[in-house]
Symmetry: C3
Subunit: 335 residues, 3 copies
């Protein structure tokens, strides 16, 4: 996906020549072009800049031929023979990419000179709330006191935004309820090794809350890195939960309090989770599955199953192990 300029300001265009000079690259074919934007590798279109980490995944290696401009590690074998991108070999592709991205785009700040917010006359805005420039608020929506709505945020009809909520970089549908103190659209927790040590990775994505989503008090939904964090229609997330960057939650999902979902997770429609379930990054939970309270999900979960435990496994297995252990340990004691 391209960077959404409702949320990120284009500071400058950048020519490929400039990049080639900086990294001593031979990029003769396209030297006179400005790069068309920044993107993840998967979503990049022709002449958009992207990167591949050292260990490229096989799905990426088999990508179709394209003219995306891709930073790769100097010693990487990925993509070499396939013409699936125009390669820019550098020492640290991730650092090179995000340096250019941050040079090119900046997150809009609350005091940015944008258009005045457009607030439907039937919408009500509580005392002490700060509505930034470029915001749109729909019919009958209510923003409680002391909320903060960041630049460019779009809020649909019949929404309830609670007190002290902060929301940035977000597209919010109709009938959405966000309870007090929820944090929508902060940068995700991403770190990278750079020539100057470990550094935060700047984020250029968004949060999308579809219609009738419910977000509990003090819950945090981080925005995507180069794509969207998405919560599907009718999904309900209880208090003090955490949804990491790039995670996609399906429709009618229910998560009890303290759900801790890492980045880049995919959760199918109708999944239900008890309280305090943790999910490791980059796994998938199949549609309709149930996860017992207090479980840690360390691997992908099939559709339509009931899992639980630390690590999560079929709930019956976990229960059997618990019961068996109890019995054996009690025996051991009798001897």
């Amino acid at each position: 996906m391209s960077v959404d300029q409702r949320f990120y300001r284009l500071r400058t265009t950048i020519g490929l020549r400039q990049i080639a000079d900086q990294y001593s690259l031979n990029a003769s074919n396209y030297l006179d072009l400005d790069i068309a934007g920044i993107s993840s590798f998967e979503d990049a279109r022709d002449f958009e800049l992207c990167y591949l980490e050292n260990k490229a995944k096989s799905s990426q290696e088999s990508a179709k031929p394209s003219k995306k401009l891709c930073f790769v590690a100097e010693d990487s074998q990925a993509l070499q023979s396939k013409g699936s991108a125009y390669l820019l070999p550098v020492k640290r592709p991730k650092e090179a990419f995000f340096k250019i991205a941050a040079h090119m785009f900046a997150p809009l700040q609350s005091d940015e000179p944008l258009g005045e917010p457009r607030i439907h006359p039937s919408a009500r805005i509580g005392a002490g709330s700060v509505i930034s420039k470029g915001v749109v608020i729909g019919e009958n929506s209510f923003i409680a006191p002391n909320a903060y709505i960041g630049p460019g945020v779009q809020i649909g009809r019949e929404c309830h935004i609670g007190p002290d909520v902060s929301a940035g970089f977000a597209l919010i549908g109709n009938g959405v309820r966000i309870l007090a103190g929820a944090r929508i659209g902060e940068a995700g927790f991403g770190l990278m090794n750079t020539s100057n040590g470990v550094d935060d990775i700047p984020h250029f994505g968004r949060v999308i809350l579809q219609d009738r989503v419910y977000i509990g008090a003090n819950t945090c939904i981080d925005r995507g890195l180069l794509s969207d964090t998405l919560i599907g229609e009718g999904s309900k997330i209880d208090n003090m939960s955490h949804i990491g960057h790039n995670t996609v939650v399906g429709r009618n999902v229910v998560m009890a309090a303290y759900a801790g979902i890492s980045g880049s997770v995919r959760i199918g429609d109708g999944v239900q989770m008890g309280g305090r379930v943790g999910v490791v990054d980059h796994v998938e939970i199949g549609a309709g599955s149930h996860i017992a309270a207090g479980s840690n999900v360390l691997s992908s979960v099939p559709t339509g199953v009931i899992w639980g435990g630390i690590p999560a496994r079929p709930l019956k297995d976990w229960q059997r192990e618990t019961v068996w252990l109890k019995r054996q340990a009690a025996k051991g004691r009798q001897k």
Copy 2:
């Protein structure tokens, strides 16, 4: 308990005839009456409307005769022969009840036209705080900057309300301390199946914080559904804890950080919990018991015991199992 009109506005009265017409009920005895209010089944008084879910509990079946008006499932056998309520059989009693409840009562909003707040001259209100109509604040209490106090909230003497706290639907005693960012009185996490799919259950209860209660930073205390969420005198709850709707916490209870107490739990006086204890809904923890850090309580706990583990059981059992497992697995490795 009846709905507290300091927090919920009576929008309209409703006649039983109106309900009978809508659900094609034969309610000839009382057709000319307005219903007297809404309530939980247990607390309903004569001519107040209430409901019983499909699986009525035995304690409810043995209730004394009364003239409460009660939605029950069409196929329910509960209460039939006992005259303990005037029965209104419908397809979905919960949905029918909450539809009427929400039609009849609406939570007061911060911009409601109520009486001016009454703030004791010795109380101090920080910059940027929003004090709604109908609020009462007692002697020497301090409201820090950027706090939000919702309509009708009563705050006693010598209280400290931290920055960015939001408090609604709450009766707060004397000497109460609420640290920064705590969320008092948001709606609980309750969902119901309706003819239009899963929907949030509207809440009509309150939060009661008795004298000398301490609520940690970013902790959430949800308000009751049709009754109160109550924290007893002198109880102390650390940061980022969560207390579900209708839960009743006794006196001098201590909970370390991340306590996650589900709805309708009863916690006895003097209970102590280590950090990150989870408690499933509708259980009871006996007075004076201790629960070890990181435990998940999945069943009621007797008084005066020390429990721990996942699921929680007598702490000695858990420790014995842990030690036994360690020894056995190490043996298995030597073979």
Copy 3:
């Protein structure tokens, strides 16, 4: 460390005679002196007041001779023969100490008459933010809307303070990022038995965030009791984490979401923790060690190791036990 008067106001000086009278002490040597301040036992200088709990640690018993003034329990044998402090035997040393401390010092409030804040002309302050007296904000720092900066807080250059953040009693370095809703410097969770029952312990310490620290959304960093809670250079703490009072986190430490670190913990440089790690109070985690997600650390951890589990132990042991249990329980089922 002495009490930092940028954050705590000296209300009155107190003479030793006053204390001696109140507790019927024989303190003839120094009766005419004012006490020089309050401090922890370890840090107290001559004529500063401190206390030792009933069970003094051996390290304290072997302290060097000094003229610190120390409340001890009447029946305590600690320090008696060593002249390591001037002893003031009372029934409840902790209560006696904190009563005098709270009489002598009071935390500054946001409406205190201090000097105007000094804000660098290049710094930007969002709408609705409250910047208290005595605050200093450095070059190019950005304070987002609806933030609250308490009296005397020092913020360095190039810092980003997110919306709805509250920060008090804190010294914040350069390049620090604090995301939305984080709570910096609230009092820690400390309780003491007093003659009137259990009471909160007043806090007189600070929070120090060194350069390039990153604090996630809705994370809570409690201030020290009589010393500092410190987060070292370049350390990154994800959303909804909790750092207890007096805890010292080294440099370049990484903690994923929901880290729950109790009070007085010491975490070495370069430690990495997965999500939802809990650490009990007063333990030490050696430099460079890794702790797996979901672990509970109940004892000190050596340097450079990989630990996990509940309770945490070498990760390989935990994994072996998990696998062994699974296999055995499955066998038991086949019989």
